[in-house]
């Protein structure tokens, strides 16, 4: 029998090209392309009085300069609002090149095309943009005060206001035996893939067609947008996401200004044109995430059980809202985690500021929601003198309550119903893994050595695999090669390997015979994209269904060739054979030949399918009614709702008593994403997510000054963690298969990052003995908090019953 590959640590088929320098990223394509540089706004808010290009005209190698006035009508309109929502009453999107006004530092004003990037930048720096400064709005609380406006026609700077409520939460908080109010804040961070955005476009004048390579998370939707913006038939536009150097959310936004301008310029100029974003451009003109200010009011009983939860969120959406209000919707819904909140009310206000726009970054609003909920859990434990783990356990949705309806509307417009999960089991695993119950002893030992340590935990539930659909195509070629295609893209998650594992099992073919293509509209035209931890769920199930269709067809055709009942056949290692008598067999490649009745042969093998060779029943047509030639299948997977993965993290930190340096000594993860297709890949996703979680908790922030300048727009100043900062991760898995899909899988891509801020706040608070309410936290901020605590300005945290008693 063929060894089953789903569940195995199969080495990645992507790696051979990537470790030898043979990967193909966008900037590796097309060495003869013209190159683009942009003149971007140096001010956060200003009126464009004039653009003077005369100084640039004699720059050697200059090909073209474009401003807003040069754009055709379809490009002179605002870029698309991708996800409209009834609560998003004042959506605003930018123009490909600024029209009259700039709303953030980095907004593109002029596009320069030259023979290479060096000379494009030469020309760009000689272009004079005359700006009349307008007062900028920076910081979400300033935006809420609305003393100044980002968009003159948006009152109060409010893009959206939304309330969801289950029960009467305010009354429940009011009448509960205990209540608390927390004021919390989370700063901005960003996806920050190592490869920035990039676009390469080639116009074929003879064929009137366009081929675009883009470093995107959705090639099909970029294609649709380009066809619309450039007034081309879909059939004349190909978009390919080749190897993509990380995405983490920022590349799901589309079409970026550059993504429409570069193809347009290629057509205008009749030359290949490309643009490769540099690092500063990525900081100031792509997208950020996270920034929120939260107020939580909670009512609970003597046991720490929630009775009412009332949350208000101010969400900073930056200057524009092309991706709608997905991030605050996810915060508002996924905040609940594995808990039953009693009555719940959540209200968010999404606000414009003169900063880079906010769109999903891995976790997509969940880290902020989990921060609010888990800070609340710790505060309840503190108030009642209870073990933090115990308070969480008392509020869990129980396994026997699944499926569990939280009564809210999720980001896909569908009910927030958890499909499965065993939260008590996950917590038990985590406590064992980290040694929760033994930590008090460790703390005592550490204290005796003059060291200060703390432990924390945080739980989350993640809706993964959102719809509406993905498709899969499986094609067995007459060579025996199995070609698999799905429309969504890959940014390093190992989709080629993971999908090939699934097809190998479903079809019964060797892994090495399978070639998987993602994100290429030439191969698969219908898709949504890669986000929301959805590939294994959506494309995984789609290719599984397509492989089943192919298998069924192969068995039927082989049954005719072998004069056997298809039900008696099996496919093993690419050969169809009669169960129990393997000598009666036919290779799948021959079945592929037979599946396509031929008039003309082209080689020895294909002669078998020609008209004088096949024979058969002369009363039937060569291609039966309802059938089609070729051994291939195309299927779609479209679920009624998301699947809900979950996880719990625990960490031990040490804080230096003198310098306030924060070190993560241990980081433990228990993770349940249903059936694991490739445990090594899932662990890799968790490791990477944890690194981003630690970065977001301790190092990364976007530092805007009051004039809207991003002060740390470089890798020198924006502190992404190196190997020296990221702790080793200890993982344990629980597999609660999803009942919602054939493979039983849930998503895993974003999980690792979600509880990071909440977790480290919990652990640092435990080490220090005072409340941590804002993340990220640096050593100097911790040092300042200590001073305030010593001065009696901060309330002490009462210690857990479990980890120690009365130590502070």
């Amino acid at each position: 029998m063929t060894t089953r590959l789903v569940g195995e640590r199969v080495p990645r088929s992507e790696d051979a090209r990537l470790v030898t320098g043979r990967g193909t990223f966008v900037d590796d394509v097309g060495h003869d392309a013209l190159e683009v540089a942009f003149v971007r706004s140096p001010l956060a808010h200003a009126r464009v009085r004039d653009v003077d290009v005369t100084g640039a005209l004699d720059v050697d190698g200059l090909v073209a300069i474009y401003t807003y006035e040069d754009l055709p009508p379809s490009l002179a309109e605002p870029l698309p609002l991708l996800i409209p929502h009834p609560a998003l009453t004042e959506p605003r999107t930018g123009y490909p090149l600024a029209k009259g006004e700039v709303k953030h530092v980095g907004e593109a004003v002029v596009m320069v095309v030259a023979e290479d990037r060096y000379r494009a930048e030469d020309a760009a720096e000689r272009i004079v943009v005359d700006l009349e400064p307008l007062p900028p709005v920076v910081g979400v609380e300033n935006a809420a005060r609305a003393e100044r406006l980002v968009h003159a026609d948006v009152p109060g700077n409010v893009s959206a206001h939304m309330v969801q409520e289950v029960g009467d939460a305010r009354a429940a908080v009011e009448s509960a035996p205990h209540s608390l109010e927390l004021h919390l804040a989370v700063e901005r961070s960003a996806s920050m893939p190592l490869e920035g955005k990039a676009v390469h476009a080639r116009w074929d004048d003879d064929d009137s067609s366009l081929r675009v390579y883009s470093s995107t998370q959705t090639s099909t939707s970029v294609r649709a947008a380009l066809a619309a913006k450039l007034d081309l038939p879909l059939a004349k536009v190909e978009v390919i996401a080749p190897d993509v150097g990380g995405g983490f959310g920022v590349k799901i936004v589309h079409p970026w200004p550059e993504e429409v301008l570069v193809p347009w310029a290629a057509r205008q100029l009749g030359r290949a044109v490309k643009w490769t974003e540099d690092r500063r451009e990525h900081f100031v003109s792509s997208a950020h995430e996270r920034g929120q200010v939260q107020t939580v009011r909670v009512g609970f009983d003597d046991e720490g059980r929630l009775q009412g939860l009332d949350v208000e969120i101010l969400h900073d959406n930056g200057a524009y809202t092309p991706y709608g209000i997905i991030v605050p919707i996810i915060t508002a819904t996924q905040l609940l985690g594995p808990y039953k909140p009693g009555a719940y009310r959540v209200e968010f206000t999404s606000l414009y500021t003169n900063t880079v726009m906010v769109t999903p970054y891995r976790g997509a609003g969940r880290p902020q929601g989990v921060f609010a909920m888990e800070r609340t859990m710790d505060a309840i434990a503190d108030r009642l003198g209870l073990d933090r783990a115990e308070v969480r356990a008392r509020n869990f949705v129980r396994p026997e309550e699944m499926p569990y309806d939280q009564g809210l509307v999720f980001q896909d417009g569908r009910p927030l119903v958890y499909d499965s999960g065993d939260y008590p089991a996950s917590l038990e695993k985590l406590k064992k893994l980290v040694g929760w119950d033994e930590f008090a002893t460790y703390r005592e030992q550490a204290r005796a050595e003059g060291r200060r340590v703390g432990i924390g935990l945080a739980c989350y539930v993640e809706g993964t695999g959102v719809g509406p659909y993905e498709g899969g195509h499986v094609h067995v070629e007459p060579s025996g090669r199995v070609l698999v295609a799905t429309g969504l893209t890959s940014q390093g998650q190992g989709h080629q390997t993971m999908l090939a594992q699934i097809v190998a099992d479903e079809l019964g073919v060797p892994f090495d015979d399978i070639t998987v293509t993602t994100g290429d509209t030439r191969r698969f035209g219908y898709a949504v994209g890669t986000f929301a931890s959805r590939t294994a769920v959506m494309s995984g199930n789609a290719v599984a269904l397509a492989a089943r269709t192919v298998r069924e067809k192969a068995l039927r055709i082989a049954g005719e060739a072998l004069e056997a009942d298809p039900g008696d056949l099996e496919i093993v290692d690419g050969v169809v054979r009669v169960k129990g008598s393997p000598a009666a067999s036919v290779p799948l490649r021959t079945v592929a030949v037979l599946s396509n009745p031929l008039r003309y042969s082209f080689d020895e093998e294909s002669r078998r399918a020609t008209q004088f060779a096949v024979g058969g029943d002369m009363s039937k047509p060569p291609v039966a009614e309802g059938d089609e030639p070729g051994l291939e299948g195309r299927e779609y997977y479209s679920p009624t709702q998301s699947t809900f993965a979950n996880g719990m993290h625990a960490a031990v930190v040490e804080t230096d008593p003198d310098t306030a340096e924060i070190r993560v000594l241990r980081y433990c993860v228990v993770h349940d994403c249903g059936t694991l297709v490739n445990p090594q890949i899932v662990e890799g996703q968790i490791h990477g997510g944890v690194a981003q979680g630690v970065g977001g908790a301790l190092y990364e922030r976007m530092v805007y000054d009051e004039s809207g300048q991003l002060l740390n727009a470089s890798f020198m100043d924006f502190l992404m963690p190196y190997a020296s900062e990221v702790p080793a991760v200890e993982t344990d898995h629980l597999e609660t298969p999803s009942p919602l899909n054939p493979l039983g899988v849930k998503g895993a891509g974003e999980a690792g990052v979600i509880p990071g801020m909440a977790l480290l706040a919990s652990a640092i608070e435990d080490a220090e003995g005072f409340r941590i309410t804002s993340m990220p936290i640096s050593p100097s901020e911790l040092f300042a908090l200590r001073a305030r605590f010593a001065a009696g300005e901060l309330e002490p945290v009462r210690r857990d019953a479990d980890t120690q008693e009365g130590a502070f």
Binding site: G21, R22, D27, Q491, G684, H687, G688, A691, V726
Partner: protein, 183 residues
């Protein structure tokens, strides 16, 4: 380095910035191109020589994706001008494997340990670690982590990269032991 003042592609008197012939031994092969003085080594390798395995992540020497070996020592190709290394020997990620295609132990180990995801930063790690193992053939965990702590990766969380450094050291030791056994 042969300056050709006031000329483009060797045509004296044509407009444009002066170009210079830069000759490097890249992955054992002598390669030349005529480039402006400001051409970065990273762009020279990628766009003039077509060796696109070397990647550019920040253009200010922080991320390490563009690391190549210059006379066997790791350098950031985005911080060097091609003209300033004229005559040097450069090894890029394309030159790590043996001529018969056998992977370098570091390449082998990165695959085995799942030490890469998107693969964009990987060439810089591979060259860095290859040079490191020449200096320290048997690093412990701490030394392995230190060796890669000047390169940024946004995907892996580094855990498997650190494991791959040590795995590469083992593979390297095994292969050199094997060579020693030969008659």
């Amino acid at each position: 380095m042969t300056p050709v003042p006031g000329s483009v592609d060797g045509v004296p008197g044509a407009a444009g910035e002066p170009r210079h012939v830069v000759t490097l031994t890249v992955n054992g092969v002598v390669r030349s191109a005529r480039v402006p003085a400001r051409r970065l080594l990273s762009d020279f390798l990628r766009h003039d020589l077509g060796l696109t395995g070397t990647h550019v992540g920040c253009e200010h020497g922080v991320c390490g994706a563009c690391t190549v070996l210059l006379d066997a020592a790791p350098v950031r190709a985005c911080l060097l001008f091609a003209v300033s290394v004229d005559g040097c020997a450069v090894t890029t990620v394309e030159g790590l494997a043996a001529p018969d295609g056998t992977l370098h132990p570091v390449q082998q180990a990165f695959g085995e340990c799942h030490a890469l995801q998107c693969g964009f930063c990987t060439p810089g790690f591979l060259t860095t670690v290859a040079a490191f193992l020449e200096q320290n053939p048997a690093p412990d965990e701490e030394e392995a982590r230190e060796a890669v702590s000047g390169n940024l990766c946004r995907c892996t969380g580094y855990q498997n990269i650190v494991a791959a450094v040590r795995r590469a050291a083992d593979l390297r030791a095994a292969s050199s032991a094997g060579e020693g056994d030969r008659p």
